[in-house]
Symmetry: D3
Amino acid sequence: MRILVLNPNTSAAMTAEIAAAARAAARPDVEIVCRSPYFGAEAIDSAAESYLSAVGVMDVVARLMRAGAFDFDAVVLAGFGEHGRDALAEMLSVPVFDIAECAAHVAHLIGRRFSVITTLARSIPPIQDRLLLAGLNAHCASVRACGLGTAEVDADPASAVQAIVEEAARAISEDGADVICLGCAGMAGVTAAISAKLGVPAVDGVAAAVALAQAVVGLGLSTSKAGVYAPGPDNPRSHWPLSQAIDSSRERSSEAIDSSRERSSEAMGL
Amino acid sequence: MRILVLNPNTSAAMTAEIAAAARAAARPDVEIVCRSPYFGAEAIDSAAESYLSAVGVMDVVARLMRAGAFDFDAVVLAGFGEHGRDALAEMLSVPVFDIAECAAHVAHLIGRRFSVITTLARSIPPIQDRLLLAGLNAHCASVRACGLGTAEVDADPASAVQAIVEEAARAISEDGADVICLGCAGMAGVTAAISAKLGVPAVDGVAAAVALAQAVVGLGLSTSKAGVYAPGPDNPRSHWPLSQAIDSSRERSSEAIDSSRERSSEAMGL
Amino acid sequence: MRILVLNPNTSAAMTAEIAAAARAAARPDVEIVCRSPYFGAEAIDSAAESYLSAVGVMDVVARLMRAGAFDFDAVVLAGFGEHGRDALAEMLSVPVFDIAECAAHVAHLIGRRFSVITTLARSIPPIQDRLLLAGLNAHCASVRACGLGTAEVDADPASAVQAIVEEAARAISEDGADVICLGCAGMAGVTAAISAKLGVPAVDGVAAAVALAQAVVGLGLSTSKAGVYAPGPDNPRSHWPLSQAIDSSRERSSEAIDSSRERSSEAMGL
Amino acid sequence: MRILVLNPNTSAAMTAEIAAAARAAARPDVEIVCRSPYFGAEAIDSAAESYLSAVGVMDVVARLMRAGAFDFDAVVLAGFGEHGRDALAEMLSVPVFDIAECAAHVAHLIGRRFSVITTLARSIPPIQDRLLLAGLNAHCASVRACGLGTAEVDADPASAVQAIVEEAARAISEDGADVICLGCAGMAGVTAAISAKLGVPAVDGVAAAVALAQAVVGLGLSTSKAGVYAPGPDNPRSHWPLSQAIDSSRERSSEAIDSSRERSSEAMGL
Amino acid sequence: MRILVLNPNTSAAMTAEIAAAARAAARPDVEIVCRSPYFGAEAIDSAAESYLSAVGVMDVVARLMRAGAFDFDAVVLAGFGEHGRDALAEMLSVPVFDIAECAAHVAHLIGRRFSVITTLARSIPPIQDRLLLAGLNAHCASVRACGLGTAEVDADPASAVQAIVEEAARAISEDGADVICLGCAGMAGVTAAISAKLGVPAVDGVAAAVALAQAVVGLGLSTSKAGVYAPGPDNPRSHWPLSQAIDSSRERSSEAIDSSRERSSEAMGL
Amino acid sequence: MRILVLNPNTSAAMTAEIAAAARAAARPDVEIVCRSPYFGAEAIDSAAESYLSAVGVMDVVARLMRAGAFDFDAVVLAGFGEHGRDALAEMLSVPVFDIAECAAHVAHLIGRRFSVITTLARSIPPIQDRLLLAGLNAHCASVRACGLGTAEVDADPASAVQAIVEEAARAISEDGADVICLGCAGMAGVTAAISAKLGVPAVDGVAAAVALAQAVVGLGLSTSKAGVYAPGPDNPRSHWPLSQAIDSSRERSSEAIDSSRERSSEAMGL
């Protein structure tokens, strides 16, 4: 089984972390391939960046498909609360797993009420929206923020762990949560701290998504094409895939291909 | 990994079917053990029978625990819409998987709106209640009944398949479902017919529960004991486990142990 | 009019308290008969005990029916948040009154938002579930726990009253409740303290259920048999009623019938 | 016990019918007094008439209070879906029973899903609003109209009964109702036809309200004054009670007091 | 364009304030006419007064219509949480704008979650009811009260502004509001203080209603008469319009017309 | 006042139609400028195209801002059910008006229940999602599709009008709608047919958004920056704005600038 894990931001460090988390959760016989978009933001902290990331992962998939290089059994979308899941489900015949939804599903299976701990307060509403649209908000006790941005989490992981554990403790005592979901793909590794200090199960979205991907693929099931995830009509599109439009015009230029583009192409696995 | 699958009714034929469905969904390295209660009903078509079945599976687990014979990594409760999941979650440290909830979780992962097709109309409300309490009803398009009781399904499987496929077709066209969940543990095998004739994914609860059990156990997670599933206080109970009360008084009697009891004890794996 | 009040636990003291509360609320021409199960727990503080109690009261009713001794106009189920109401409604042609539901109905009639004060925090979720399934949660301001278990309430009633009044005060000031429901059958007597100290009406579930039973029977109405409460199909059941299975096997034994059994049979009115 | 039943319209015939229905439901020791407003509409088929009726019943009560003639233990507001209950609850220390709410409460106690059958389609939304605000809509299967206005129902009762029974049949088969509530105060008498022909319990709001009034008064409970039903501040009002303003200016006129006024005063019991 | 603004209380001072607020929000080419009821309360702090005000504004409109003096393009109902909007929508062919609803609509357009700050705590439930019935409560973060009655607000406007700003600050920090709606028609002028001190937009209902009235009239749209707002049947009414009944009987009296009546008639623009 | 209207697809014909509809609704003193994205799809019939369109309109705005050419008082996003509103609200200090939300707001103001008629069935779920997230779904009777794609509507407008009117008729009779919203920006002109044939108000989203933009700007209000619409942190982005990345690399190429690019730059007003 091969699973494509899509990091929706362009940070190479984050892509590596997510790949590691996915591999740690995968069965030995499952291959994890992790990719990030050609364009977009290094971290996703706004609706604008979230939409950009959705188009970024669509672009990755479209280019792989055009190149005949899409040979995966499932896709994991590793943005917690980001857009894009429905577009990928529409484009692909293999099932797609959003890490926020998957964390919530696993939380349902092992507890009665879960809380999500994310980075900044401004990420709370999009996560609430994601759970509401997915029909998974009835047992959500709260979505809380530890107050540290992605960059700060990266810069001082120990303090971040402490801030997250403290917020999780409030979710348990004030909101009645009995399971904690880590509300950001880069928080992998905090789960052990939460379980050890607070005595509740903690769910990492990337691991949850890989586990559920294995489960659903193992059942021989995939996205229903009888409803909203059917492929759309063949409307004319301009400059699509966008990365190719940027790329190919560059190729036509007489300039030397810059090193960043090399890295980008490599990141896309082309 | 060892999974205990509990058929909540006392039908040996149904227990065998469920065991087969569970084994078909399990990974090769996973052992499936299937048990049914010592007392209760051969089929569960009422609230009274559902409560009886809940106590029946509690009894099986309690007796295994008392005998030091509970060595499973997860439990699957194979009653679609029956009671008992929360009691088992409370009693056990390993995770418990209700087949109705698991079917709904898988349906969420592969579609936008699911319908459940059950046997008799009188089973619709308990399934709706189960989904409501589990926080999984927002994307449920409908719960429908094919009109055949468990006995009729057993007696004429071909007609049953047709009736279920027809009801599923109505769920798709009238209620907007794009995934079908089979709302009874004995319906295994119908999924292929639905997918073939209607072009939508069909989810069998037993298979879904086994797959999710493997996924959750694989993640190293189990039921949270920080909330409602913490073990209860040690209130005095009389005649518990009930099967033992019935059994041991029988043993004290001078009558020959009847063959039905032998079968029962065997069914409980004791 | 004769009302059968079922205490779902096996505590004789609690049965007596409930009987007294029911008699205090009943009209002079109404006879109250109070019974408790043959088996089960002395107090109900878990889902497992709640299911056991549901089967326990079903067993009482089944045995009375088999003995031709069921001659009541209504049944009150005196467990606050316990299971079993729907099974009794299914089994019986006379109406069944759950004390949690009845307390909520009366609270609606005399206020805008009610809170329930129960014993332990672990009893909050089942009460919330009961109200949700009964369609009576929209005006529920909160379900709160005074933190004392049933045994502690019994051991030190004066402290229990104070703890309950304090929690009720918080429900009023923090949650906006204007009516308090006592969330446990053994709390009868606290209503006066709450009304006196906090100036809000307090509803005891047993009294509410008896009053509503009188009202509904007076209207000549009973449980609808056109829906989910229709009698179930006649599925074969083993060892049912359970108390009889335990009992009769004991009778067949050569042992002297122990005194506890005598008390049990007496408690069941057989 | 004395219960004041308020017919919110000005029809003497309807007032008599409601009084009869109330008396038929009351215990022998309970006295029913029925009154209608001094001003307003003969039938209530619009929001404008509903508000007018609310002020009309407030006016009746205010005048009785001013005259020291309010000596009732409970008040029944006999408009199905009309306004006014909250105002009366605010004005009075005795409990107030709205017939739509009371019908819904009784329906909850004897079934799982109820439908309301009212007169004209334009009365459906106000009844839905009343149930929504009262927190009693979750188990409402539907509100349906038989298509006959109040006048037509009065003119041809036999056809009206048939139309109502037919609509109730649809509520049962199409909406899944197992209890029918009659959605208008003048429909008393139809309950027997529905039960006989359709085999489901049918609830008349007036009877339900009288029965619940007896129950709540019997419990020694009344409207909470700790919340929204506390008496309002003493804001200056002009021309209040309105009937007195109309009346007293008339008295000051030199005209002979007309017979309609005599009837009105008599209707108010002054 | 001519807009009739209806102050539902009888306070001349409040009517003047509302008229000023409406004029400040109106385009130069829009004429604002402000009226208050002939009867009712000087301030509306209870359900009883709210119903009285609904009939009061109905009475104003009915009398203008009878006098052939209703020549407006839209009506604004300037009671925040009061009754009457649906009755006016029914009576009139021009559109009707409730200030609570309009404030909520504008709040939706400029933020994600709004809070309403009203006067007394007892006004909170009717405002919640109004938003619930209007389908506008999902994004309402809270309805809060500053604790000052209408009279106190009038007596000491500076303190009132401070109290309101403080409560708005709590709505922002504790409830997550990003827009504040002023929950009473007399609070105009506070919006600037809130925006200046708290940095969030503040919406005055009267201004919002005038702006939306201009927008809807500009679109050539008006109240749908295909549903619940269709004119009701022509049921006989007694003493209607009430002001005329009071008035005309007075006229028939030999007494001198008192000065209060003169003021009232003037206020009604007749 | 200047309003920027953003057509999210790249069809020049649709852009012209939307501009005309916006101008028809605008006051004479309001200038309408209509723009479409540099890249994306000619029609939006899938989630993928919707995300692409969201990034497309973000790109238009970003480029205008960078060029110092953003001098508008409000922005209208003319995609019915498309993504992007929240991103624009975040990027801009002037208010942003989504046509689906604005149609729903106007529908609330003039009726009790509205239905949306869109093009293809696959557009129903995204519109339902948009209304759910906006908190505007409680009064939505239904979202229905006429079954014609955007291209078919363009090709045979007369048949399209008929199909839409027929679907609207079903929404009225079967779903109880009393207002119809046209669920696609290109349907302008159908409103007159619906009102004429069905007697209900019909709301065009573009007109509604222009009217509400005028209203909100007239009130001096704009998007709250105290919540989720605050500008995001300054995360590094690559290739942004995307159109510039495509464009500038093209400029560096030696190829002749093709005519399509000329049209695109013109469409963006640069």
